[in-house]
Amino acid sequence: MSTQTLLTPEAPTSRGARGRGLSSRFRMERVNWPATVLLLLCAVTVLLPLYVTLSMAFKSTGQAVDGNPFSLPAPLSFDGFVQAWKLTTFPVGAGVSLFVTAGTVILTIVLSAFTSYAIVRNWDRKVFRYSFFYLLAAMFIPFPVVALPQIQLTGLVHLDNPVGVILLASMFQLSFSVLLFTAFLRSIPLELEESARIDGASTWSTFWRIIFPLLAPMSATVGIFAFLYAWNDFMMPSLIISDPALQTLPVRQNLFQTQFSNNYNVSFASYLMAMAPAIVAYLFTQRWVMAGVTQGAVKG
């Protein structure tokens, strides 16, 4: 429900929303300009750090150290990007980040959809019911609590690499995702599957042909949470991945806190390259992100 209510005002222009929703009497009210101005001012505080990142990244080293972060770059310099690209071995970092993110998103969606389906369809069996509560219990466990043993264990079985991060990150996303999927699956009438089964479809193909497509909106929510977590997280990869050459993009940025600390244009170019993909992805998918986060948070 929250999805729809949230999506309605997302229509391209305010004209689009005018006809529906609130009554016409309410609509006659004038635009609230004080609130608009106030919100625009607040929006500046959101954009300011991003503007600084952008302008610093395009400055020359000489201009970057003069201490004025709000000035526009003059001359426009791409030096920062060239150096940051080399220093952080950006292609490798981006590759690892992409691999970890894709792996976490896919594994989380597939495993939690599988598990939720099995649990909901066998709710009358103790094993499945208890499994549900067992998996849910992990919502109470913060990562720092189990981090140290996990560092040791992943080292022992040679999973102190991006694959290990995928496995651990997916497991931390599992409880929440199973909760969302099971709630959604309970609302799907059994009749939908029965017709397929009468046609002789196995449970496996019923799942893929009927259930999984129906789960799509929930998969989007689950996927968005997994994406934001895996792409942006610093703590887990920094602790689990032991080889610095295989680190994710966020972790690579700590390079600039120790060495090269005065080449601000280089560090900001590097920050920009690390955060840009998520921002661009968000701008293109914002409807789903907003709806998904709302749905996820309210249910969870």
Partner: protein, 303 residues
């Protein structure tokens, strides 16, 4: 498998198929998650709790030492300080985040111009990595603000906020709030939009003022959302790590070291068993808060 099928009575909503035994494919759906989950979270958890009763330093021999770690914890000023800092920081941040997010949500659901654009902008911080935005703010706090202070002659601005042991936490609250507001905001927007429009119309007819409308109608109707936001936020802030790492790295001294940071620092510092006791206590705290969450939200199923 066969034992479970005999012990589990087929009660409740029985399905036509699988009344006697569970179709094997369901085990294939369930077991990979259960096994992976057990290996990734349960086993480390059990190992951790076990080691909290030992004198292990992370490698080599170790002996059980009973409750020694726990007793030492309660009189360790560094640990007490990390709990005090983390809880204080979380309480302040929860209040700041919820007040700002609620006001923004009221604004964003009122009759304003540029609504779509403004919402897009306000949600952006959510998709940015905490550690990276912390590095950006780190630069602003330690370079730009002091430079601004010198230019304007304002002496209180000239030293970096991050270098002041008494005020560094303010910087952490600001950056954490900057990043946490969008998620909270989206939930409040959903809450505000779920209030039916005719309730407001009725209030208008009765001559209610804008403030009365906010306090008497909006606030009580979104109270459930406030509970959710406060608890989810508080739980998240207790785990604070990335942003603090990028801003102060626990400093100056250990004045902004969070619980998570002290646990992790123990790994490199060689007191593994000791910090596992710390982690176990932190775990108990997390459970207590989650139980509080369950008892508070259960009564508000109206959501």
């Amino acid at each position: 498998m066969s034992t479970t099928t005999t012990t589990a009575p087929a009660k409740g909503r029985t399905e036509q198929r699988g009344r006697r035994r569970v179709e094997p494919i369901y085990w294939f759906f369930l077991l990979p998650s259960l096994i992976l989950f057990t290996l990734a979270i349960t086993v480390p958890g059990v190992i951790g709790i076990t080691f909290s009763f030992t004198d292990s330093i992370g490698v080599g021999d170790w002996n059980f030492n009973g409750l020694t770690n726990y007793i030492a914890l309660f009189s360790d000023p560094a640990i007490l300080q990390s709990y005090l800092f983390t809880f204080g920081f979380s309480v302040v941040t929860v209040i700041v985040v919820n007040v700002i997010a609620f006001l923004l949500a009221v604004g964003l659901t009122s009759r304003i111009r540029f609504m779509v654009g403004l919402r897009t902008v306000f949600v952006i911080p959510m998709v940015i990595s905490g550690i990276i935005i912390a590095y950006v703010f780190n630069f602003l706090f330690s370079n730009s603000l002091p430079a601004l202070g010198e230019a304007t002659g304002a002496s209180w601005l000239q030293t970096s906020l991050l270098a002041n042991p008494d005020l560094a936490w303010v910087a952490i609250v600001i950056v954490t709030a900057w990043q946490a507001i969008p998620g909270t905001l989206l939930i409040y927007i959903a809450g505000l939009l779920s209030v039916p429009g005719d309730v407001y119309e009725a209030a208008d007819l009765d001559g209610a003022s804008r403030t009365q409308r906010l306090l008497r109608i909006t606030m009580p109707l979104v109270a459930g959302y406030v509970v959710i936001n406060v608890i989810l936020g508080f739980k998240g802030f207790l785990n604070a790590y990335d942003i603090i790492k990028g801003l102060t790295d626990g400093g100056p001294g250990t004045s902004t070291r969070s619980i998570a940071m002290s646990i992790i620092a123990g790994f490199n510092g060689g007191d593994y068993g000791y910090q596992m006791a710390n982690a176990t206590i932190f775990f108990v705290v997390a459970i207590l808060i989650s139980l509080l969450q369950l008892s508070l939200t259960r009564g508000r199923n109206a959501l």
